[in-house]
């Protein structure tokens, strides 16, 4: 099945978008040193949708921030398309944060333009690119609205547009839909898959929702409680495009149950 799904790309070796090997992270806490991440090794294939789940405080956000070049690890190696990430590089990696990360003093279009404006791109080209991105995420006609005039779901669409505006190969998403209500959350997940299918980015996505994990992912990585380790990798071989009806299937339920058992074993 997996082979058949990748027919067009199977002639060459799958490129690795992200390679993490033997990564550990220690930070200084109030009561001495804390081992936050322990001996993490993982690989994300180019163009794949990978979801990381794990108990609160397991270090999954830290791991994602390291992939973004926003924090550095204590030891081990982290490569993005073969090169390390000593600092953020928006041309390689875009980041979508948890809710409320839009700048409230900028309009939707200006928020999307923000990364481009830092490079002093020509104003007209910037604007056009931002409108294009807003259109991609389904926000035609909302360019001049301020964040406080948008709903939670719309704000996250703007965040996704901002993450994609520099056309990075990798999109990192840190619980982007956590603050949304269940219904909006499902719609946004579906929308994200549509955007992913049109842009063919590599996505690494963090969530607490197991249903969301199974629904979105090619592969789910399960992390342990602190110190964070990868305790299971589960290939989600449900066909694409994913549909809401699949959630009711035995297969979906079985995959979800397997992840749940792994997480539960941590308590």
């Amino acid at each position: 099945m997996q082979q058949l799904a990748n027919l067009d790309g199977d002639s060459r070796v799958q490129a690795k978008a992200i390679e993490v090997s033997r990564l550990s992270h220690v930070y200084a806490g109030i009561h001495g040193e804390v081992l936050a991440l322990e001996d993490i090794s993982l690989q994300v294939e180019s163009g794949k949708f990978t979801v990381i789940v794990g108990p609160s405080g397991c270090g999954k956000t830290s791991l994602l921030m390291m992939m973004a070049g926003l924090r550095s690890q204590s030891s081990g190696e982290l490569l993005c398309h073969g090169a390390p990430m000593p600092q953020p590089d928006p041309n390689r990696v875009g980041v979508v944060f948890q809710e409320a990360s839009l700048f409230p003093w900028l309009t939707a279009a200006q928020n999307v333009e923000f990364p481009l404006s830092l490079r002093a791109d020509p104003k007209a080209a910037r604007r056009q690119r931002a409108l294009q991105m807003l259109s991609l995420v389904g926000l035609d006609g909302f360019a001049d609205r301020y964040p406080h005039e948008l709903s939670g779901g719309m704000k996250q669409r703007v965040s996704i547009a901002r993450g994609l505006v520099q056309d990075p190969q990798v999109l990192l998403m840190d619980e982007p839909f956590a603050a949304l209500d269940e219904q909006t959350r499902m719609t946004m997940g579906h929308e994200l898959l549509r955007i992913w299918a049109t842009t063919s980015k590599t996505v690494v996505f963090i969530t607490h929702s197991l249903t969301e994990a199974v629904y979105l992912a090619d592969e789910v990585l399960v992390m342990s409680a602190r110190p964070g380790r990868i305790i299971d990798r589960i290939a989600i071989d449900l066909p694409r495009p994913r549909t809401y009806e699949m959630m009711a299937s035995d297969k979906f339920g079985g995959l979800r149950e397997r992840i749940w058992q792994q997480i539960r074993s941590q308590h």
Binding site: L70, V95, F97, A100, L118
Partner: protein, 245 residues
């Protein structure tokens, strides 16, 4: 709403005019508004009043121009350097809580009764307010915004100009507004306590000599200046924070 506001103002002004005139209030203590305004008009023709206004305004401006940059610098340092904050914050809080007027005699001993003494005392008072507010301004910038900007590849300068400044702007203007109230108050106290010129000095003298129309004229003059500054900054504040909910 607006008409109710106007009605309240009108009622107060009318009461000021007619309560003393009807004898319900002692006109020796509260001269009618019209008399106060006539006195104010006459005072504004006098050169010693011009000089007093000039001196007071100069003291207020110079003290402000010292206190704002100094306080901002110290406030930002405290907000950005946890090590410095640990050392200085408790002490600053202690001194902040003391009524600064108790130090006024010391300023007179050091500087004498002159321009420098007024400026030094007002700048000293105001700097504490600015330090506290500036630190709060910096701390009000959400870490999410900083991470977002960094992930977009922002340099340190871009981080300051494109994230810190716009994010803090409404609160910064508020700091300026509140600081000016403290600053103006400090200059007035210093002038009324011991001085040879300035509006505060004139007001204190008129009060001591029971020259009530002059006293109230001075109060009206000072109020107009203070309200004008305050409202100008508030107007700016509103223009710069239309993105706020």
């Amino acid at each position: 709403m607006a008409s109710a506001r106007a009605a309240l103002l009108f009622a107060l002004l009318a009461a000021w005019e007619f309560l003393p005139r009807s004898g319900l209030m002692n006109p020796e203590l509260l001269p009618p508004l019209s008399e106060v305004l006539t006195t104010l008009w006459k005072l504004l023709q006098r050169s010693n009043v011009h000089a007093a206004i000039g001196v007071t305004m100069a003291e207020v401006a110079v003290a402000f121009l010292i206190a704002i940059p100094l306080g901002t610098l110290l406030g930002v340092l405290i907000a950005e350097k946890p090590y410095l904050a640990d050392i200085f914050k408790p002490l600053l809080f202690y001194v902040f809580s003391i009524p600064k007027s108790v130090f006024l005699p010391m300023f007179i001993l050091v500087f004498g009764i002159n321009f420098a003494q007024k400026v030094a005392y007002a700048a000293f008072t105001t700097t504490f307010v600015v330090i506290m507010s500036a630190a709060a301004c910096v701390e009000s910038v959400k870490t999410e915004y900083i991470e977002v900007a960094r992930s977009c590849g922002a340099s340190r300068t871009q981080l300051i100009l494109r994230v810190y400044v716009p994010s803090m702007l409404p609160m910064l203007l508020e700091t300026i507004r509140i600081s000016m109230i403290f600053n103006f108050t400090a200059v007035m106290i210093a002038e009324m306590y011991a001085s040879r010129t300035g509006i505060g000095h004139l007001i204190a003298n008129w009060g001591e000599n029971f020259q009530m129309p002059q006293l109230f004229a001075g109060i009206v003059l000072l109020s107009v200046i203070a309200i004008f500054f305050n409202e100008s900054v508030r107007w700016l504040e509103e223009r710069c924070s239309n993105w706020r909910t």
